[in-house]
């Protein structure tokens, strides 16, 4: 059993990284950054964490440095958000293409312009196709636990892919929550020292990231995608062993009162807490409403999502990001693709809410369910609806 404490969620992630005995951290310390790397810098400066902390001149350099440290076999971590993640964009593909098991925390925040440092999921949704394993936490405990799991998943020789733990900016990253803090001994027992497969070493030279001529590029891309798809089994294994060791269970998809629900809300991240209260109230009022929270975003849990949502009349998807000129929200469009092969598929209504730090209230979920009922009655009138927008 861990020790029960109260801790800011960003600092809980720093503690998890420290307990993972990370070897290298590279980060750029300016807004939009979080306390995660600030705390890690303090730990290294105080001698509490035996790691190399590399200060760089930009987020692009931060991810470049992480590629370098991971390529020489160091357990590597960084954190970013918003514009910082956007600036990393180019290097994010290098990390996954080189199969470097870097772990990164993202405190999801809006993208400029207009300038916004507040929370939504625009930053990471723009990085959907970078080839990283990606997951979303709802609570501080989950953020702490999944950060530990990320190292074990990323470094598994069957995976070797960089991995992202997403937390909602501010609503999770900056709040203090109660959580079970695990001991160094228990983490050491569960998370072994990283054993890299291939490293840059002058004694045994290799070329990483060579030119991929047209006659091999397709095969290497297929290899990379298969690694991501097949990482699914490793994710399940790691979460299973985490439960056995620490007693807390994680699954790719969380369902809440969804089994007999006619309308199911599907979303990602911390607004699930508010949605759960709304579901309880609507249930008390006799409405058959449920909730499905997608925890694992890449690899996408197709079968679990079909199982959890396939029996509903309608799914109300709540996205905290917008696909401009497209089908509404990225979570909704993924879900539509996922459910399309089913014969009797639910109607998928797309809602955009909580952009740029705007609260998503219990009342908003009432509106979302009411609008979904309208779609059930009359069919689609819009590709998506924006909740709470002044018109």
């Amino acid at each position: 059993m861990g020790k029960r404490i109260g801790l800011e969620v960003s600092l809980a992630i720093s503690e998890a990284v420290k307990l993972a005995r990370v070897d290298a951290v590279a980060a750029y310390p300016i807004t939009p950054q979080t306390h995660i790397v600030e705390e890690l810098a303090q730990m290294v400066a105080d001698g509490d964490l035996d790691a190399r902390y590399i200060m760089v001149e930009s987020e692009h350099s931060a991810m470049s440095a992480c590629c370098g440290t991971a390529a020489v076999g160091a357990r590597t971590f960084t954190a970013t958000a918003s514009q910082g993640l956007a600036l990393m964009h180019e290097m994010l593909f290098i990390a996954s293409g080189l199969r470097l098991p870097i772990v990164m925390a993202i405190a999801n925040r809006a993208l400029s312009a207009p300038l916004s440092i507040w929370g939504d999921q625009s930053d990471v949704m723009a990085e959907r196709d970078i080839g990283w394993v990606q997951m979303f936490a709802e609570t501080g405990q989950e953020a702490f636990d999944l950060t530990l799991c990320c190292f074990k998943i990323a470094e598994d020789p069957r995976v070797l892919l960089p991995t992202i733990i997403n937390i909602d900016g501010f609503t999770l990253s900056h709040v203090v929550e109660p959580l079970e803090m695990e001991s160094q001994q228990d983490v050491d027992d569960w998370l072994p020292t990283y054993v890299p497969q291939v490293i840059l070493d002058p004694a045994k030279p290799v070329t990483i990231g060579p030119v991929g001529f047209p006659e091999i590029y397709t095969e290497i891309r297929k290899q990379q995608d298969m690694a991501l798809i097949e990482s699914y089994g490793v994710v399940l294994e790691v979460w299973d062993s985490f439960e056995k060791k620490f007693g807390r269970a994680y699954k790719p998809v969380e369902t809440y009162r969804a089994e007999d629900a006619e309308i199911i809300i599907n979303l990602i991240g911390a607004i699930a807490g508010t949605a759960r209260i709304a579901v309880d109230r609507m249930r008390e009022e006799g409405k058959k409403v449920g909730l499905v929270r997608t925890r694992l975003w890449r690899p996408y849990p197709f079968e679990e999502m079909r199982k959890a949502l396939g029996g509903a009349k309608a799914v109300a998807v709540v996205d905290r990001a917008l696909s401009f000129g497209g089908p509404g929200g990225p979570i909704a469009s993924e879900l539509r693709s996922c459910l399309y092969p089913l014969e009797n598929k639910p109607v998928v209504a797309s809602f955009i809410a909580g952009l740029g730090g705007r609260d998503v209230s219990i009342e908003d979920f009432y509106t979302i369910v009411a609008e979904t009922e309208k779609v059930l009655d009359t069919g689609y009138t819009d590709e998506y609806k924006m909740i709470g927008v002044r018109e």
Binding site: R99, V206, G212, E219
Partner: protein
């Protein structure tokens, strides 16, 4: 396509485990021009050898720098840098 391997048969991330494997690549077939040396002008200074970005020049027994046409891409840097105008670029096919 010469390479018939399936995606399963490549090393992870296409990493090359054999040092110096590029020597086996016939990069010379990209060339549209080739360097031709005129021994009467050449003073064997080695500037061409220093500047060649592809290590496609090597010294022969007489001390002249020969072109390795299997790797020379015909960039013309050797001809440009030669202080004696002892290297002339000639169109391939001439």
């Amino acid at each position: 396509m010469a390479d018939k391997r399936t995606w399963r048969e490549y090393p992870v991330a296409a990493t090359i485990h054999e040092p110096g494997s590029a020597t086996g690549q016939n990069t010379g077939d990209w060339r549209s021009q080739r360097p031709v040396r005129h021994d009467e002008k050449c003073d064997k200074c080695g500037i061409c050898w220093i500047f060649c970005p592809d290590a496609a020049l090597f010294m022969n027994e007489e001390g002249f720098y020969e072109v390795d046409l299997y790797h020379c891409k015909g960039c013309g840097i050797c001809a440009r840098e030669c202080g004696k105008e002892a290297i002339i670029m000639v169109e391939e096919g001439e």
